[in-house]
Subunit: 441 residues, 2 copies
């Protein structure tokens, strides 16, 4: 019964032509190896989207969870409902009320992080070849899901006020003229990942009107909405359009990503499908984490905690913007985020962000090249810088290192012409799928 080495390799190779067609799109990002290096302590990572949870009151969390096990252990350790813990779904409605959403807990489905919500919505709606509209650029983890379900992503232009309504109109018209079917518009209205911009109030109204007129469902992904630096939370798209919007939220950025508790708020009929999809995917989301999150919300001043988080991230955003202003060579431009984790940087003409990445990592600084955030290989002259995780001092040091690498690159280009592929990395456009984990580095 022992397998021979020869058999082994034959069988291993033979898997290649056994996978589903969707699996062809699941390939490890070529920048993944670099991120393994980037996670070394001597590297300043401006790449990752990990929240900084060092300020969490571990004593409060520990005692809330200790109580939970002692008093409700038999429930917390047991299977639960496929839709999620009822009490938590009520609390989720309280959270959403901060953004003007009036919702019933019956219409909330708890998911394994909001990543799983994107997955379940796509699973329920998208056949291969269906079109999903998404901002240009868009969240790498969502693009991965759309690719895994063989959707055709059509990007829609943004500017400093978010999604451009005219571009949305044109994109819808073009897709519909081509006879293809749009399943939804995937949008991150607040403190966009990776672009750092926010959809203005006027545009919210306009985007909803366009989508209503064209009968396009909106998938509103809002992990950062409560992390604004300058004002009260913006009114959610869902607040003004209960029937045409599926809203996604998460506790990953306001409490703990390790709990993996996110949610979808959906029109009733869609909610039923999402619950069935959730049961098929996991039977039920983790009961233990859900009850832990619920206990935290009950026993802690979570709104006060979010306020502290906002202050911390604002300080880091300021450090990032100041460092960019002080240290970057002429020819760069960047967005000014009013919340969230990210700045989107545009490089001087002719500089390729992915080609430059190995040199940056060698200089002990990491970022995510812009191509990760496009389904179509665009984005090579852009990159995402995150300010969520490192301290202000490290952020400035990271930008200093980055500026040095960029200046050297610009000099090289001045001397020898366009920079090319380095260290085996292709530089040009490609249909790159830089897997979600690049977002966690």
């Amino acid at each position: 019964m022992d397998s021979q080495p020869v058999t082994t390799s034959t069988r291993l190779d033979s898997y290649v032509d056994r996978y589903a067609a969707r699996t062809a799109g699941m390939t490890a990002s070529e920048i993944r190896a670099l991120f393994a290096v980037a996670s070394r302590p001597e590297v300043v990572s401006l790449a990752g989207g990990m929240p900084n949870i060092s300020g969490l009151p571990l004593d409060v969390v520990g005692s809330a969870i200790g109580d939970l096990i002692q008093h409700h252990g038999a429930e917390a350790l047991q299977y639960g409902s496929g839709q999620g813990v009822p009490r938590l779904r009520e609390q989720i409605c309280d959270v959403m009320r901060l953004e003007g959403i009036e919702a019933h807990p019956d219409d909330v489905v708890v998911t394994v992080g909001s990543q799983q919500a994107v997955d379940l919505v796509t699973r329920v709606f998208c056949d291969p070849g269906d079109v999903v509209l998404a901002e240009a650029p868009s969240y790498v983890g969502a693009l991965g899901v759309f690719k895994a379900f063989q959707c055709d992503v059509v990007h829609v232009e943004m500017d400093d006020d978010g999604l451009v309504p005219d571009a949305l109109r044109q994109a819808i018209a073009a897709v519909q003229a081509s006879g293809r079917r749009i399943k939804f518009l995937y949008t991150i209205p607040n403190f966009h990942n990776p672009a750092g911009v926010t959809l203005s109030g006027e545009r919210r109204t306009e985007v909803l009107e366009i989508c209503r007129a064209a009968d396009v469902l909106v998938l509103e992904d809002n992990p950062y909405g409560l992390l604004g630096f300058d004002s009260e939370p913006m009114r959610a798209l869902r607040a003004d359009e209960p029937d045409g919007v599926i809203y996604l939220g998460s506790f990953s950025k306001t409490f703990s990503p390790g709990m993996r508790v996110g949610w979808a708020l959906a029109p009733h009929a869609v909610r039923e499908k999402l619950v069935l999809a959730q049961e098929s995917a996991t039977l039920c989301p983790p009961q233990f984490s859900q009850m832990a999150v619920s206990a935290y919300l009950t026993q802690h001043d979570w709104q006060g905690q979010i306020k502290e988080l906002r202050e911390m991230y604002r300080e880091r955003r300021d450090a990032m913007l100041q460092a960019l202003e002080d240290l970057l060579p002429a020819g760069c431009s960047w967005t000014i985020p009013h919340g969230g984790f990210f700045v989107w940087l545009t490089l001087p003409p002719g500089i390729d962000a992915k080609a430059m990445l190995p040199r940056a990592v060698t200089a002990r600084v990491a970022y995510v090249p812009g191509t990760a955030f496009y389904a179509d290989g665009f984005g090579s002259s852009h990159l995402r810088l995150s300010f969520c995780y490192p301290t202000p001092e490290r952020i400035r040091e990271g930008v200093r290192r980055f500026a040095g690498v960029l200046e050297a690159e610009m000099e090289l280009r001045e001397t020898f012409g366009a920079t090319g592929p380095v260290a085996g990395l292709p530089a040009g456009p490609r249909s790159g799928y830089d897997a979600p984990s690049s977002d966690l580095s």
Copy 2:
């Protein structure tokens, strides 16, 4: 911006033709409403597959998790690897060693319960129309996944020694002759859900030989393997065939389902695909639950705990078998489980288990009709009885009530001929998808 009632209903209705083709197969089971009734305390539920976790040492669990938050809170509450916590994957290898498996932690992928492992494997391997072989009957939650991915399930006969090798040979030959592609054999070798039977040692060798010769991958689902009543754990199929078997395990039945921690052990190339699929589905499985399970395994005599669970479930199995023997009318037969949670009952000719269910629930006893466990509408003269959750006394009372309902049904049939649909429930074969949650009632 407020939506009009008319608009609302139009938009809601309009979702119907927007879903993906796969979603057509996601419909709520018609017996689901009955299970909502069956969860009332006055009903003895012999339907659910919920483990009895009342014996868990909540003080140990609470203190292990308290320590975890105190000493490793920043890690436990943060994002983790898409593959799962390294230390836990080592411990999973220790668990699998009890069944003769020698594996490397690199080849383990942690999943949100083993349900998600079935989902990810199917996602990676199956295109619409691909064939999955499965025992007749098979696990309702796996059938749901196969249906959601539009697979074509071909059932293979079992007897008291599990999967029948000749039937497997014939099924493979028939599918291959028809030009269709078999992606894998899905099998539950130990204490089968729902059939209660176990694949004998000789047949394990034979099944592996058949699959190797026909180049058919085996998906070995083993949630109950350590819960045998009479002997040491059987040797896993994976133990003798590292390259042709994907093995699925779970902590749901040996520790806590509320943690939602299961795993897949896969050949290296497949493992890479599963990690990418996991990242697309959830970014990473819940770090917090994984570390909690790991702390429990480290700080508690988990093998001693499993021994206690075995004793408890053996006592309940004995109560179930004794009650069936003492109380059931002639004409019934049932399997004798040597572990796990379930007995599979065959009714006297002409009695339809699904048609009888409303009468059983009215008489305050619940079970799962056999049709739930077939992809093809077969199984109407069978049903699954679970002995995992109620006490021995309640089990006997449940069987007493069941026997009363069955006797009345047999009398009716004697007087009026075949029993028909009752209370809106179709009685005949149908392609019923009795959703996974029916397994949790």
